[in-house]
Symmetry: C2
Subunit: 494 residues, 2 copies
């Protein structure tokens, strides 16, 4: 091959070119975040030798940077769900997650995730992950309390509430503040260490080692500036994150995400795992999709407000999850997007918000606000009068916001500027990756399994597939669950 | 590799496994549509031997099924543009095409296309493709006259008219009726035949032949139920179309297109060319995107109407290209979409339309229509009153429809049901494919060139990248231009 003027590849090394093996093991795991930790523990507990290679000098990955909410339920309910009075049917969880994933849903993967979800909860508890039997009832982007359960998605919002009985499934670790991620990875790291699983830090995975049939036999790792050939008898599990930190890949595969402002992930999310998988014929799918959001709550009271576009039209039921709202914001035409609310609902926005949106206008009357925002005369007035008239009856004939959040917006009014590029925070990360079976086995575009190669977490394309149906807790849920499945599947290999 | 329960792949055959070559040539071209024909002619004229392998029993591909409008201009204007009074700047064409392609635009490819466009026109004329020096001025989905030039996109519509000086660039063959495609392929086939270029019909390309470094050395073809090994000294050019006829690939890569009703293409558009390219490490990009449309004109008079969603809101300037309008239709929430117009603009809809949409309601007053359509009371009334008030002044403050198409909608009213899935025609085809340089050389995900492999037409990801900015003429334009570039580049290989 000839090099063009683009990024360097992670092209596989030929097995026939390997003259010496420096390390031999059953399973090599690339990445020590949530998925890598779970893969290693399961592989070890099934009697295989696993080694974790981690780029950073400590475990953590993007899981440690997250709130580590974990989306779990079904099967009658987890211990926390049951203790807080929620009976959760597997079919409700399945139907919700399928609708959330949209037309690109992977039914087999969603099915396995839902049916295995109670077992996953119990497994995590067995590892020592603490969940308190209490529910946080306020609308929150994350629990800053130590409560064990909260709604973290659009379960109660239209159209999802028409498709499945709502149930809270966001499980939050028993820790105060936004400290779930570090605690979770501390516990999982201890679990890895106490099993004596070998971990090599500050090591970079360079490329897979494959034979002429693209079967994977190992991986080349750089440790201390030396290239080390690692032979794997059972498989390589790629748990190396997504590609949100690789701008070239974003431009090529997910250009729409570049409208957002805040990449969420760790510096290792360069897509190298995905590229390694592709280098041996693995299919990368759903590559255009990502999580995006406009985190407009807290304060939850802003949910009583309305989002309007440059045409002065509403476009979403505001009681949806912030990711779904953010995705719809990015679909709007025109150069302006606002949240309109009463000063009472604006409340303690300045103190508690993560949004970073500035006040664009205020008004004692709608006309005054409309003029200050320079909206087409009469549009905002109609939108708000129509909204208020029906909200007074707890109704939203246009977007079916639930009665709980419907109340007339009253003067004085405030408008927050949530136009992308004008200060409001639009976080994002990627949701595309290697196409895998529920077992983590990587597939070619033709649907063949690549022997010896597994992917989990955001290196794979998992159960969450789009911002329009995302929930907090689906990524750490998927990463840990898919990591376990891959660890078990690789260990079970003859 | 182990077979999963999915489609069979086009996995490459190993060069070392080839014991006998049945055919040897400089260049093998897979597919005899517009791109394959142009690739063969250029390769031959540059002194190389090329053989075309075509699945069907005749040339044509999807080009022959199309209207064969060809998007060309810039460089001061083609002969037809100049004769009809249009001076066309390359930068206007470039800026328009970049905006049309959106954030995923390939700047190098758009640049090459625009700068080479006048030369491309002259080359086609040299092959005998007839263009009359006349312009069709009505708003048409295609020219049913023999006029040589028409607007085939959104050049005159907002926001494109803010970014580049509009100019018509859709070149239509000098033939009456919708017969451009067959005539174009007849002419190109004659050009192939008169050069004595060898063509093998009823042959199926099975897989590429590649060495351990994924360099391509030939291709396996099935002729008369026999597998034939074709050795290529300069390269294989994949001109095998897109994947609109492969439902499994659509589900995996472009699930949103499945909301549409009419796949546009030929039965060979199974994605086999794209899969062959991926089998030797080629990157497939933009795979989620396709052309979609709601072909609501003719009659052009419906452009005086408005599109409304289930909320009774407008959402697009209706003077955009039908593909852009169709794409926005698919983004709407709710279960209903209508075109509202006056009975006068409805005109001869039933006689001349391709749309297939049924009349959903009529009314002497807006209130009557709103009730008949069961829209939220007051929404349609506001939307139409606001629209009419400004249209009377030739203005559209919401979506900037141009004055030419702004006039109040007058009773009696008609509503056409354009809800996807309720009868209206939503044609679609794919716009994702192999990542290539402007030369047609196929790239890996890491940006390396795969030696010996080229792709053109819809097997490659070309200049048109999304429905929201599509123009008629961009596909045949891109197919023929990219076919020529690939033929030239392969022939120039040492």
């Amino acid at each position: 091959m000839t090099k063009s003027n683009k990024t360097s590849p992670n092209r596989a090394k030929k097995l026939s070119d390997i003259s010496q093996w420096d390390i031999e093991t059953d399973i090599a795991i690339i990445g020590f975040g949530g998925s890598g930790a779970c893969a290693a523990i399961e592989a070890h507990d099934a009697g295989s030798e696993a080694i974790i290679f981690e780029l950073a000098s400590a475990s953590g990955g993007s899981t440690a940077l997250s709130s580590a909410e974990i989306y779990m339920g079904g099967n009658g309910g987890t211990r926390v769900q049951q203790a807080t009075g929620h009976h959760d049917n597997t079919e409700d969880m399945f139907n919700y997650m399928m609708a959330a994933a949209g037309p690109q849903a992977d039914e087999a993967k969603v099915r396995a995730y839902c049916e295995g979800s109670l077992d996953h909860f119990n497994w995590l508890v067995d590892q020592g992950v603490p969940f308190k039997d209490s529910e946080l009832k306020e609308r929150a982007i994350m629990a800053l309390t130590d409560d064990g359960l909260l709604y973290t998605g659009s379960e109660k919002a239209w159209p999802f509430n028409q498709l499945a009985k709502p149930c809270p499934r966001g499980h939050n670790l028993e820790v105060e503040g936004d400290n779930g991620g570090p605690l979770f990875m501390k516990i999982m790291t201890e679990n890895v260490e106490k099993r004596g699983i070998r971990v090599e830090y500050e090591t970079r995975a360079l490329c897979l080692i494959a034979d002429q049939d693209n079967q994977v036999h190992g991986i080349v790792i750089r440790i201390n500036q030396q290239e080390i050939n690692v032979k794997t008898s059972k498989g390589v599990i790629l748990c190396a994150g997504g590609f949100v930190m690789n701008e070239e890949m974003l431009k090529k595969y997910a250009p729409r995400l570049l409208q957002c402002s805040g990449p969420i992930g760790n510096p290792g999310d360069t897509g190298s795992g995905i590229q390694m998988g592709m280098s041996v014929g693995g299919a990368a799918i759903n590559m255009d999709e990502g999580f995006v959001s406009v985190p407009f709550y807290p304060p939850g009271s802003l949910t009583h407000g309305i989002f309007i576009n440059a045409q002065g039209q509403r476009f979403i039921n505001e009681d949806c999850y912030h990711g779904r709202v953010g995705w719809h914001c990015l679909q709007q035409k025109g150069d302006r997007l606002y949240i309109i609310c009463g000063v009472e609902e604006y409340g303690d926005y300045e103190k508690v918000s993560y949004l970073g949106a500035q006040v664009a206008g205020t008004g004692e009357t709608i006309e005054e606000l409309e003029e200050e925002l320079n909206l087409p005369t009469g549009q905002l007035k109609h939108t708000m009068e129509f909204y208020n008239q029906h909200a007074a009856n707890g109704e939203d004939p246009l977007f079916h916001k639930t009665a709980e959040w419907c109340q007339p917006i009253e003067a004085p009014y405030v408008a927050l500027d949530v136009t992308p590029g004008r200060g409001a925070f639009y976080p994002y990360f990627t949701l595309g990756g290697l196409d895998t079976l529920p077992s983590g086995e990587v597939l070619t575009p033709g649907g063949e399994i690549i022997n010896g190669l597994y992917a989990a977490g955001r290196t794979a394309c998992g159960v969450p597939r789009r911002a329009a149906g995302y929930n907090s807790g689906m990524s750490v849920g998927d990463a840990t669950f898919s990591g376990r499945m891959a660890g078990k599947a690789a260990a079970a290999k003859a």
